[in-house]
């Protein structure tokens, strides 16, 4: 992976998108490797603080998915 690849911080809901990501893995689908997943118990717990904290620590983009 080259230096220029963006880092995408993703907050995935345990029950929805995390499951989808798991299924995608099990089904051997291919998706970009730029995504760094944080599993959260529920997207309802998301706070603007988390997004800012991510950007502050140098994430190129943030993706929240429920």
């Amino acid at each position: 992976m080259s230096e220029n690849e963006p880092k995408i911080l993703s907050f995935l809901c345990n029950w929805c998108s995390y499951g989808a990501a798991d299924l995608a893995g099990v089904s051997r689908m291919e998706y970009p490797t730029n995504i760094r997943v944080i599993r959260i118990p529920c997207t309802g717990r998301m706070s603007p603080k988390f997004i800012l904290a991510g950007l502050r620590r140098g994430a190129d983009a943030v993706w929240v998915s429920g």
């Binding site: 603007p48 603080k49 800012l52 904290a53 502050r56």
Partner: protein
């Protein structure tokens, strides 16, 4: 607006005498011109310190958070809306309050006047009939039209008369209408910029910030027992003057006010370096109006949009 002063004193004295309230929250002359201090009168003698003119810009709703006493409080349009926000959020009970409604004739902008003055302003006189303000200092004296030196939020205000009150101190004043002025002109100006221009605009805006948190302390909405800026584990925002930290603070502070801010302008007035913090909050206010048809503090019963769910909530930002 000095004619209000006597009426305010009269009502306050009556309330204290009849033992309807334990205290009345109002303003007294501040230690510096153009900044009247919030003042809590607990007996009739203390009421005599009360004043009312165009320098009563701080928000009194800030002083009733979590109080247990019976309180009489002066309330202009924006103050009364903040009281309504407090009621909705359970920070005070309606039975505890006796709201003295004050139809507001707008406040003057101390930063604008200070910029006009040739030195320190030592005294201020207001001529109610002519609508002029005279500022005096050691070597100068200047008279200006009050209309030219209003706080920006006051000149754009759509709710000058209090929305909830027990008694009015004067006749209601005429409201401005959106036909004459566009309250969101400045927001639209910023919206029209491209991302880099916006970024630089806010960089310039915040470059003077000294992180004194006066805007937070003046704000009636900021009543968290522990503010996010003081949290150390995890630490959301650094305590330095670093541009990123300053921006994080202002962003989160504004966001905490989403759907609650009444644009009272206390933050701008309190700011010692004259930053127009409202560039953030006004945008949120506009969004709330456009997305949810919501204006903060107009009702003491309805829950604000950000703590209710409706299937009609806009969701086009979700993929």
């Amino acid at each position: 607006m000095n004619s209000y002063t006597d009426k305010i004193k009269e009502i306050s004295k009556r309330l204290l005498k009849e033992d309807k309230v334990d205290m009345v929250v109002g303003y007294r002359k501040g230690s510096v011109p153009l900044m009247h201090q919030p003042y809590i009168a607990q007996n009739e003698a203390e009421v005599d310190a009360f004043v009312w003119d165009s320098s009563c810009g701080l928000n009194l709703a800030n002083y009733i958070t979590d109080r247990t006493e019976r309180i009489g409080i002066l309330a202009t349009g924006c103050n009364s809306r903040n009281i309504a926000v407090h009621l909705v959020e359970g920070k005070i009970k309606r039975e505890q309050l006796y709201i003295i409604g004050i139809p507001c004739k707008a406040m003057v902008d101390r930063h604008k006047l200070a910029a006009m003055a040739d030195g320190d302003i030592t005294s201020v006189e207001e001529d109610e009939e002519k609508g002029t303000i005279t500022i005096k200092g050691e070597n100068f004296s200047e008279t200006v039209n009050k209309a030219d030196v209003l706080q920006e939020n006051c000149s754009l205000c759509m709710h000058r008369n209090p929305v909830i009150y027990d008694e009015l101190a004067a006749e209601e004043v005429p409201e401005q209408s959106t036909d004459e002025i566009d309250p969101y002109a400045r927001v639209k100006e910023i919206e029209a910029m491209d991302p880099d221009e916006k970024w630089n605009h806010f960089d310039d805006l915040l470059s003077d910030c000294i992180r004194c948190y006066a805007c937070r302390n003046a704000c009636p909405l900021c009543y968290c027992p522990l503010c996010f800026v003081d949290e150390s584990n995890p630490q959301w925002v650094g305590k330095s003057m670093d541009a990123t930290d300053v921006r994080t603070f202002h962003f989160l502070r504004a966001y905490h006010c989403a759907g609650r801010c009444t644009d009272c302008g206390a933050c701008v007035r309190a700011c010692p370096v004259g930053i127009n913090v409202r560039d953030f909050t006004k945008k949120l206010e506009k969004d709330c109006l456009e997305l949810f048809g919501w204006e903060a503090g107009l009702s003491a019963e309805q829950r604000p949009p950000l703590d209710t769910y409706s299937p009609k909530d806009p969701e086009d930002f979700i993929k």
